[in-house]
């Protein structure tokens, strides 16, 4: 195998963690198969960001920096990645299993007639043949699939499965600018982008959830939770007690009789951590718990446990968050 191409993903000027997971997997395969790893960054104003990848033990970073790439456009993404593939002839392309990564992977697969290993958890080799393992039937079974022909293979990797491992090779990969190429036969027109409304953000789609519990003390303090959620670009969650008190709507309820969520960050404000609630949020990637009771069960799940009155902490935290948000470029 000679080349592995990694398509990175970024949001708000930061690489998504799955990008580093893809690089981790690509480096592992690169070492075992003696292959070069190329990372690809597409977006507007991303040249500076791309430098962050140069020390990740890869061969080169290709950057398509163009205002037309501000949001995902299948015609531009497909055209640009296809042009790079024509030049590099990669044996394996790794993409994140996100809406962008999966859409692009499917388009590449059908236009190039390349096999796609969707939502893979591991890439392995049987001789020169690339194989991928992926969970099926709700994770009760695992299938191993391989390409019938010896062409380029595409694999999407679910965020949070592989994990990020520290770079042991270092290096100083060059950043190479590439041209944006529009697909000649683009059939889809991108007509608009609607930013998420924090007030109506679906809990299941939120990256950050700030959840209110009875420990907030009074209904007036719910506005603090809403304010923090808005600053962090997240959604407002709640416990059943808060919904029963009428402080927040049923659509915000997390837990056994509410939504089951898996955000990147869950901030539990004045929530004790009853099983009925934690069953709906225990899969969160990171949890900050704020509670006055040092033995509250929520602290078992928390990555950061803060023992204090949430009504006193939130105004200070909001003030500091606002300063950082206002200073962000």
């Amino acid at each position: 195998m000679s080349h592995i191409l990694v398509l990175t993903e970024h949001h708000g000027g930061e690489f998504a963690e799955v990008s580093f997971e893809l690089l981790t997997e690509a480096r592992r395969i690169g070492r075992s198969q003696k292959s070069d790893v190329t990372a690809m960054v597409l977006g507007a104003g991303v040249t500076g960001m791309a430098a962050e990848l140069t020390g990740h033990g890869i061969h080169q970073v290709l950057v398509a920096d163009d205002v037309r790439l501000t949001h995902y456009d299948p015609n531009l993404w497909l055209g640009t990645v296809s042009a790079v593939c024509k030049q590099l002839e990669p044996d394996l392309i790794l993409l994140p299993a996100t809406t962008t990564g999966e859409d692009l992977a499917a388009r590449l697969a059908v236009t190039k007639k390349w096999p796609l290993f969707s939502r893979s958890t591991k890439i392995t080799f049987k001789g020169d043949q690339i194989q991928a393992a992926r969970p099926v039937y709700a994770g009760k079974l695992q299938e191993t699939i391989s390409s019938i022909s010896g062409t380029t293979c595409l694999a999407t990797i679910l965020p949070g499965v592989i994990g990020v491992r520290p770079v042991d090779t270092g290096g100083d990969a060059p950043v190479v600018a590439i041209e944006v190429v529009a697909e000649a036969d683009g059939r889809v027109a991108v007509t608009g982008f609607v930013a998420a409304d924090p007030d109506n953000l679906d809990l299941a789609e939120a990256d950050v959830i700030v959840a209110a519990g009875r420990g907030l003390g009074q209904v007036e303090n719910v506005s603090l939770v809403k304010e923090l959620a808005a600053l962090l670009g997240g959604a407002v969650g709640s416990t059943r007690v808060v919904v029963d008190l009428g402080w927040l709507g049923k659509e915000t309820q997390v837990g056994q009789t509410g939504a089951t969520v898996k955000p990147r960050l869950y901030i539990a404000c004045g929530i004790s951590g009853a099983t009925q609630h934690t069953i709906g949020m225990k899969e969160s990637s990171a949890v900050i718990a704020i509670n006055t009771d040092p033995s509250a069960p929520i602290f078992n799940l928390a990555d950061l446990s803060l023992n204090c009155d949430v009504a006193q902490l939130l105004p200070v935290l909001i003030d500091q968050c606002r300063k950082r948000v206002e200073h962000a470029p």
């Binding site: 949001h11 809406t99 697969a109 939502r119 009760k140 950061l304 023992n307 200070v316």
Partner: protein
């Protein structure tokens, strides 16, 4: 009045229950531990199609499936939900076609019936690889629109609102023919009564043969090497020791021992100090940018 029909591709989901065993073919779970059910993603795609018909944007809803006779129960559910016509392309159960081959079969049928608008599920719950819609669009020489949460046809143009990460939406449009992959969370499928389901089951199912298309000539890109039970993760629990109160022993059995007992640090102190810890935590995870020096 439109004469456009919307085709909905239907695939029942296979639910694996109890102790997992693999069928003799090695390609699927053993029937003794698995059963078909209506896939929620497919049900959402059908619901989106029914809404289009109710809004007068399409004339009829036609459900198409490629599979064995066991798929008929799901197609009967589709008819009971309101589909005008249901069709099954007969495919032997042990054939294990990949997405490209299945798409080729479906495209052949849909093209033959003059279909220009097709809805599919973005992904079925039994973890299909999500490639059918794109492969179908390519086979029909049409546009592929993914992750749709809203679908409309206005003045002959297809318009969708598309889910992207972090709750944002993208608006896409395309001409026909087109294939739209509908998100699982897009709509809430309507209730199907037992009576209407019983009635639908009594009606004769329309079964098509593959005609001149031979299974061994279908395009395939991948093959299944091995299907095995998933990795079982050891549950982190144990019998509690003799020490501690009854409440603590009960909590330990339920896996909710106290944070301090687990050696976790619970920070307490001044509000400013705790705020600083929270800010550092958010910055380390890339959720906040540090203040410039």
């Amino acid at each position: 009045m439109t004469d456009l029909d919307v085709f909905v591709c239907i695939k029942p989901a296979l639910l694996v229950e109890g102790a997992v065993r693999i069928a003799g073919s090695g390609a699927s779970p053993d029937p003794s531990c698995s059963r078909f059910l209506v896939d929620p993603g497919n049900a959402c795609a059908l619901e989106a199609a029914l809404v289009l018909r109710e809004c007068g944007q399409v004339a009829r809803v036609v459900c198409v499936s490629a599979g064995p006779q066991a798929y008929d129960a799901t197609l009967a559910w589709c008819r009971a939900a309101g589909a005008d016509q249901v069709l099954r392309v007969d495919v032997p159960a042990d054939l294990n076609l990949d997405a490209c081959a299945t798409a080729a079969l479906l495209a052949d049928t849909i093209r033959g019936l003059g279909g220009k608008l097709v809805l599919t599920a973005q992904r079925s719950i039994d973890e299909s690889n999500g490639l059918i819609a794109a492969a179908l669009a390519a086979a029909l020489d049409g546009a592929y629109l993914s992750n749709a949460v809203e679908v409309q046809i206005l003045e002959g143009e297809l318009r969708i609102s598309r889910r992207v990460e972090r709750g944002h939406r993208q608006l896409w449009s395309a001409g026909l023919p087109a294939v739209v992959a509908v998100e699982h969370s897009a709509t809430k499928p309507r209730y199907v009564s037992v009576a209407s389901l019983a009635l639908a089951r009594l009606s004769t199912m329309e079964v098509l043969t593959t005609g001149e298309m031979k299974f061994d000539q279908l395009p395939r890109l991948t093959e299944l090497n091995r299907l095995a039970p998933g990795r079982v993760r050891a549950r982190q629990s144990g019998m509690p020791g003799a020490g501690g109160s009854a409440a603590e022993r009960m909590q330990a059995m339920m896996g909710i021992s106290s944070a301090q007992a687990d050696g976790k640090v619970v920070f307490s102190g001044e509000v400013d100090e705790l705020t600083e810890r929270a800010l550092t935590f958010l910055e380390e995870r890339g959720l906040l940018r540090p203040l410039p020096d």
